[in-house]
């Protein structure tokens, strides 16, 4: 599939790409950690603080009404982005991790009991492991793990074997941050539902690359972070089916989430406010809408087509580097190139590429069990976004040759 994007013009939308790092023009290949922000998102942030900063849902003055309206427009925008049935199914959070913790803590504590089983996968980020471990420890539940093959793909027949009437929850990543693997989540969801389990999808890495339709997927929860979709840091959303969210107890107590408070008893506010205690991250929520507008104007299909070109080119180009092995060779993957080089520690690669102005991520990517599965301590990861270019990938390859020469 081809794209119709003008990459030079897109690069012009991202001021940070003009930065000079260690005397070289920045090459930013750490997009799976966080994407850079286009000018209109920066302007939206400044515009909010300059013109209508006010606390929301409380004041009756002009600024408060304007801020509240912009805040709620973002909620509607995110509802459309995920094709959720109702806007109150969109809960604002601090990010993907926060959303997962909300579900593990609120849904998990109320509905899971001793002996129940929770299924995750080998390729989960620590943020989709630890909250479930904490829950399992507290409630006496059992955590089960879907294994993967050497390409970094889930073993679906093994998953089916894990599913029993004891399975009460399945929490799986849509796209692996360390490998780039796109998991067959629709199938995962359907199979979990067949045994009566609920499903959460960790969408942190998927949301900038793949169209997400929560109704078509039929997932019960979907958690994502806006900073990985060209939006601001410190905010994300949790999508949850309305009936489930209504049945769940609040996660945090405070202002905004209450209907009436007396010292004897408090009644809780309705969705989505029940889960949004305290003053939310208004500025970032407001600016997030502009990030989504930007992504949709380019078109996710266009973005994915272009990123796939970059990935295919990079995958071919690094083959000329002797001793380099790609970790994560799934048939279905996003623009993440994770690799190791024989005899060279990933941190040395990261330090020496940084000296050449090239930003990659090195380490275990917060997926230590996955690294153990591949019997490595970490990888170097180049992850591509819509503003990256073939020329930048050439610089990476030259940079890696230099790393090898220097460490010889």
């Amino acid at each position: 599939m081809s794209h119709n994007l003008n990459i030079a013009s897109i690069r012009g939308d991202f001021p940070i790409l003009n930065e000079v790092v260690n005397g070289k023009q920045l090459v930013y290949f750490d997009n799976a950690a966080t994407t850079q922000k286009p000018r209109l998102v920066l302007d939206a942030l400044a515009g909010y603080y300059e013109h209508y900063n006010a606390n929301i849902h409380r004041g009756i003055h002009h600024l408060a009404e304007k801020a509240t309206s912009a805040f709620e427009q973002s909620r509607k925008r995110l509802q459309a982005f995920l094709n959720a049935a109702h806007s109150e199914e969109i809960i604002f959070t601090y990010g993907t991790t926060d959303g997962i913790n909300l579900v593990a803590s609120s849904y998990g504590r109320k509905f899971l009991k001793e002996g129940d089983e929770v299924i995750i996968s080998t390729m989960e980020h620590h943020s989709n492991i630890v909250p479930w471990q904490m829950l399992c420890e507290e409630k006496g539940c059992i955590l089960k793990v879907i294994p993967i093959n050497d390409q970094g793909e889930l073993l679906m027949d093994e998953y089916e074997k894990l599913l029993t009437e004891k399975t009460k929850f399945v929490s799986v990543v849509h796209v692996s941050n360390a490998l780039g693997t796109i998991n067959p989540i629709k199938e995962i969801i359907a199979k979990a539902h067949a045994v009566g389990a609920k499903v959460l999808i960790d969408g942190a890495q998927a949301s900038s690359h793949i169209e997400i339709d929560v109704q078509e997927l039929d997932c019960d929860f979907y958690s994502l972070s806006l900073h990985k979709i060209y939006g601001p840091t410190g905010m994300g959303i949790l999508y949850g089916k309305r009936d489930l969210l209504n049945a769940m107890p609040p996660y945090r107590g405070g202002g905004e989430m209450i209907k009436e408070v007396t010292f004897a008893k408090t009644t809780y506010n309705e969705l989505p406010y029940k889960f949004e205690a305290g003053t939310p991250n208004i500025a970032d929520v407001v600016a997030a809408k502009f990030a989504l507008d930007y992504v949709d104007a380019l078109g996710k299909a266009n973005i994915a087509a272009y990123e796939n070109e970059l990935l295919a080119y990079a995958t071919g180009a690094v083959k000329e580097i002797e001793g380099l092995r790609i970790i994560g060779q799934a048939k279905e993957k996003v623009s993440v190139l994770s690799f190791v080089i024989d005899g060279i520690h990933h941190q040395d690669i990261g330090v020496l590429l940084d000296q050449q102005g090239i930003a990659v991520r090195t380490g275990h990517h917060c997926t230590q069990p996955l690294m153990n599965r591949f019997n490595i301590t970490g990888t170097s990861r180049a992850s591509f976004a819509v503003y990256n270019t073939i020329e930048e990938i050439d610089k990476l390859v030259q940079g890696l040759h230099k790393v090898k020469r220097m460490l010889r």
Binding site: N22, H345, H346, Q347, D348, G350, V351, L352, Q355, T362, G363, H364, T377, G378, M406, L407
Partner: protein, 142 residues
């Protein structure tokens, strides 16, 4: 040589380099030449966990002087570690406890100390000084 004399010597070594490549080649060479820590000392107790590379630090007293041996699985960190050992090892606990380690900043390597999560180097320096304080206290109490 005092701690500061060793630091000043390292600073003048680095003045010879006019680009990042020769600077890092020097550090890589230091890393390669630094004697590896014996396996028996690469214990869980001696490990200083960074997010990316592992650093091991072994400390012992010899004739009133506190001595360090160290290692890392990444070569650049090994080179940096060797410099910290060269600067601090073989001095009294008191000297180590109150040492002002300034050479990293002066030779433009301060980012390696700042990135505490990525290489454990700052944690290692802290641990070396902690040994200084601990042995100092021990000798006072003895």
């Amino acid at each position: 040589m005092t701690i500061n004399e060793t630091q000043d010597e390292l600073i003048s070594d680095f003045e010879l380099f006019d680009d990042w490549e020769s600077k890092y080649e020097f550090i890589i060479d230091l890393g390669k030449q630094f004697p590896p820590l014996e396996e028996q000392y690469k214990t869980e107790d001696n490990i200083i966990k960074g997010c990316q590379s592992r650093v091991w630090l072994n400390a012992y007293m010899e004739e009133g002087l506190l001595k360090f041996e160290a290692d890392s699985d990444a070569i650049i960190v090994r080179g940096l570690v060797s410099m910290l050992v060269k600067v601090l090892s073989g001095h009294t606990p008191e000297e180590i406890a109150k040492a002002d380690v300034y050479f990293m900043e002066r030779v433009g390597l301060h980012q390696h100390l700042a990135q505490t999560r990525s290489n454990g180097l700052a944690a290692m320096l802290k641990q070396m000084k902690a040994y200084g304080f601990a042995y100092q206290a021990k000798s006072v109490n003895a």
